[in-house]
Amino acid sequence: MQSFTVHSGLVATLDRANVDTDQIIPKQFLKRIERTGFGQFLFFDWRFHEDGSTPNPDFELNRSELKGASVLIARKNFGSGSSREHAVWALDDYGFRCVIAPSFADIFFNNSFKNGMLPIVLSEADVEELFVRAAEYPGYKLTVNLNDQTVTDEFGFVRSFDVDSSRRHSLLNGLDDIAETLLDEDKITKYELARTW
């Protein structure tokens, strides 16, 4: 799994609450059997007009100055709805390394960590401040430091974020969950043998 330590990148904002995984990656794209290539379908119904290929100029992420954005800022309950991990794959493949929001839906939050993507929870007030700054400063960038657990910009914004220590460890080191669990395989066998029901 790709690791995440420190990342500096261009910020893109999505001013919507409850962005569900059907918007992040519509279902017709879930038919793929690979893990890759989902970035082209990210926010498909918002990014493109009816014809599926003409970019919708009104959609925030289509603005030319946001090309290459790698830090996404959104409103509360990001990633709600379906458990599709394809939503994370789409964000990742498109180029986002982290998402900052006041809150995330559980399954999406969990799926992010499995793919080296860092979901960061900041307060509504702090997220609002980031929206304001992103609108004010052209080419607004943020530095996300998982070692220090900080989010900083070039204009004095410094905030700490919480992250579970084991998740942080896995992300810093790009650990593979299955390999880690199999180190304890004897415990699984022991459990199975001890079961009487």
Partner: protein, 465 residues
Amino acid sequence: MLDKIWESHLVDAPTGKPAIIYVDLHLVHEVTSPQAFDGLRLNNRKVRRPERTIATPDHNVPTSDRTVPIADPISRKQIETLRNNCAEFGIRLFDIGDVRQGIVHVIGPENGYTQPGMTIVCGDSHTATHGAFGSLAFGIGTSEVEHVLATQTLLQFKPKTFELRVDGELPRGVTAKDMILYLIGQIGTAGGTGYVIEYTGDCMMSLSMEQRMTVCNMSIEAGARAGMIAPDQTTFDYLNGRPEAPSGDAFAKAVARWKQLPTDPGASYDLSKSYQGADIQPQVTWGTNPGQVRGIDQSVPSPSEFDDATERKSTELALEYMGLRAGTPLQDVSLNRVFIGSCTNARIEDLRAAAAVAKGYKVSGDVSAMVVPGSGQVKRQAEQEGLDRVFKEAGFDWREAGCSMCLAMNPDKLAPGERCASTSNRNFEGRQGKGGRTHLVSPAMAAAAAIQGHFVDIRDWAYKA
């Protein structure tokens, strides 16, 4: 109850790390498994417990003639991939053509695979459905699917507990679907985030197993990964005699064990909320998430009714997408399509409820309506009871089992701008087809709307014998 199931499935609980939880039952379908099986192959791993794993294609399957090959080459490939993976890894597959094929959350319970006290997972968020049996059941992503296949365990942080109590009686015409829609409207689409909901109260416990499944199914729409209802005699009676449930002596032993599961009297939850069944009306969603819902007596809201700026904006966007005007009475909203089906409401009791409404009536000339049974077995039972004839005579399309128009990954979908009364679980933008407008309702409400061409108050319906 969560604590009891958690403790009995704990393989390891290292400090500062997620627990390792054993998985009793792993349900697999074609959409979220291909990459997981690929991962196993790449790393030279086998499925640890194929005997604890069952699979079925449901999201992509056409609900029309299944004797011909699937038209969409990508759908066809995904289903073939499941077939090949199950053969390669030794997993039992209920394939198209097998009467036991169907929506994964319908076939688990009806065959007796789903049992109280189990941990049950699937790469699908509506896995919460199985919690109706007093099991810990939740949706997982594809990476976790691979983890379960390889290790038969999951790394999990223990969720908090949320008691959602409903007491009293549901008024006539108000169903389990209305109850859960109402509750989601009350607590919000993130009200349950971080929690496992335990549904309690005499109103809740008066529900049948299928009704309990409807309630638990939509737990995820309130943000809760899992929802559960304590097992009781209703549960045991349902399971008695089902092919995969224990039988004879083993059944009696199992029941004795299952009776230990309910939450101890006086135990405390991290959060508790209570409601009265009598307060619940038949519900209709008006917006683009399941929390944007009102009673049938009410009207489409105006953004100005909401204090929070983000809610106001969400409402504006929803009204625009849904093509609705604030203040329109819900009973004035007319429809083009009706879909009766999905893992929420496609079991035999749901079909009976819809058929009772449809009997003696005809679907409105402006509406195209379909009924999709949840599995081959539900379909067969419905046909034995003559429900298919009732639907067909009324002008409903009677289909084969699958997820169908819940999420339009198969040929059943809405065209842009079409408005649909649906018994499914999500009304997100584009869910049933790009530009499609979804209103979530109960099966009886959907059938009535198909006949009248607009939403009606099912409590006033004139049933014909």
